[in-house]
Symmetry: C2
Subunit: 308 residues, 2 copies
């Protein structure tokens, strides 16, 4: 494979909804444009923090088409396409590939738990064969705390050997650094390893990783990008400590997705951003105020964030 | 609500696949007909044991339409319709209701874990409002070991109060009898409580439950139906012990879905039944032989099972 792979900081872009809970294409496009102008190398739209699993297939396809139509280069996009059902993962992956996306971020089928490694291998393998497009690039998405279905390193390795070039990378959101280290051992074989949180970014770069795909990049992309760009510099640990501090605040009050939306609503002066789809619930007033107060104290800002 | 509700033994019907992994309408219809002729009061098609979460929306709709077209009375059907994404749960529930199904078996959105009770309530509430059909009957599906998202009893109770008549029942596959007991306390308010395994059937009937929706009914419907019909009789505990014994064998060798398919393949002399969709994997030869041997020793049979 000769095309340059995507490296750096990618945001699993939060998805705005209208009051009627429909995806809001306009706000989505504007947030994506801001992220790309603010330090994100690419966008992992339809990740966990995008509430992607609360979106229907048609909604995902329409949002992606609308985003590309807005002028975003699909070569900077790695949309999430992993569903429970094989034909749906195939449909979304084929759609994203045909649009020219850099790759797809693929959860394993996540309803049935405790499935054998052979079943996980077959799942990815069937998708690759059914999409049948040499342009397909898969980033395997390992996030057992949410999906309940880990993709063990030996499965990643087997897939990488069976489909070199097509298996392009992995996002490790296990929170388990030992697992990321085991994946980094596969980097020389062509696996781009993305940390699933910015708190592992410096360690991941030192270990030969490709960057991070992280919730925090939705609101703090420039500072995270600085760690990526300057990881070899003496000030890197201090920069890492700075993004760790913001990450800790984002995690301290209620749950992450409503927190990211509350922060975006506040700094963008656009309360519509607070809307989440069930089963999520927006932050309560107390959590929201505490979150914003902690961020103000930390000197946090989102410069240039577009207002409605 | 004046229509009689469904009671008795329901099977979460296993879904046959062709060698190309497409749903096999013909075998599906024949297995459904056999189940209804063999003791099942109804069919919870597209349950967990149906590999429903490995089926696409279009596949589920087509299979259901094909089943009704084959002559099965939709008043005996409670298809599973709960997806991760609100619009998809709405689409499947509206489709099943329009077809005249007795109700729908509805998982909560199951990707995001640890969601608040309020978010679960809103999820079901939004579906009810969006389907907007007075004929809708929801059976809430509580299966935390697989879904990872419990529906706590207070959420069931709140929904029952908010939507009496529409919230028709619950399937409790927690394996936690104390939870079933708490649900049975709501039976007088109009909640049909189905045990999620036949091992709880006698206890559930004694507690005022409506029956069971159980994997085991795919292969052992007549014996399970006997416990349902004769639960007040002195021989009920012995009948219960008999179905417990078969259930234990079904669970003892590999995992349940491939085991049910292997048993159906064997007794129907139809090896095509063994096919599962990834991420599941068929039983290995050793497990299959041990399973069949144990069943033969137990005198198990599937009388009248149609052959291809």
């Amino acid at each position: 494979m000769t095309e340059p792979s995507l490296t750096g900081v990618l945001a699993p872009v939060i998805t705005p909804f209208t009051a009627a809970l429909a995806p809001d294409q306009d706000r989505f496009n504007r947030h994506c444009a801001w992220l790309l102008a603010s330090g994100c190398a690419g966008l992992a739209v339809f990740g966990t923090n995008s509430e992607a699993n609360s979106l229907g297939l048609d909604e995902r396809k329409a949002l992606l088409e609308g985003l590309v139509a807005s002028g975003v280069d699909p070569a900077r996009l790695i949309p999430g396409t992993g569903c429970c059902a094989l034909p749906e993962t195939v449909a979304l992956s084929a759609h994203a590939t045909a649009l020219g996306c850099a790759g797809v971020l693929m959860l394993p089928p996540f309803y049935y738990k405790g499935v054998p490694d052979e079943g996980l291998f077959r799942s990815y393998s069937e998708v690759i064969q059914r999409v049948g497009d040499a342009r397909l690039r898969i980033y395997i998405y390992h996030i057992p705390p949410v999906s309940g279905v880990p993709v063990p390193v030996p499965v990643v390795e087997r897939l990488l050997k069976a489909y070199p070039g097509t298996i392009a990378g992995v996002k490790d959101s296990s929170g388990d650094w030992a697992n990321t280290e085991a994946l980094l051992a596969l980097a020389p074989q062509g696996l781009s390893v993305f940390a699933g949180s910015e708190v592992f970014l410096l360690r991941n770069m030192r270990g030969g990783g490709a960057g991070c795909i992280t919730a925090g990049a939705n609101v703090n992309p420039a500072a995270i990008d600085q760690v990526f760009r300057r990881w070899r510099d003496p000030e890197a640990p201090a920069l890492q400590a700075g993004i760790d501090r913001i990450r800790a605040i984002l995690q301290a009050h209620g749950s992450m997705i409503p927190a990211l939306k509350a922060v975006t609503a506040h700094f963008g002066q656009d309360p519509a951003w607070k809307t989440v789809r069930p089963p999520l619930v927006e932050l309560d007033e107390g959590d929201e105020q505490a979150l914003l107060e902690d961020l103000r104290e930390a000197g946090f800002a989102m410069p240039g964030l577009s207002m409605p």
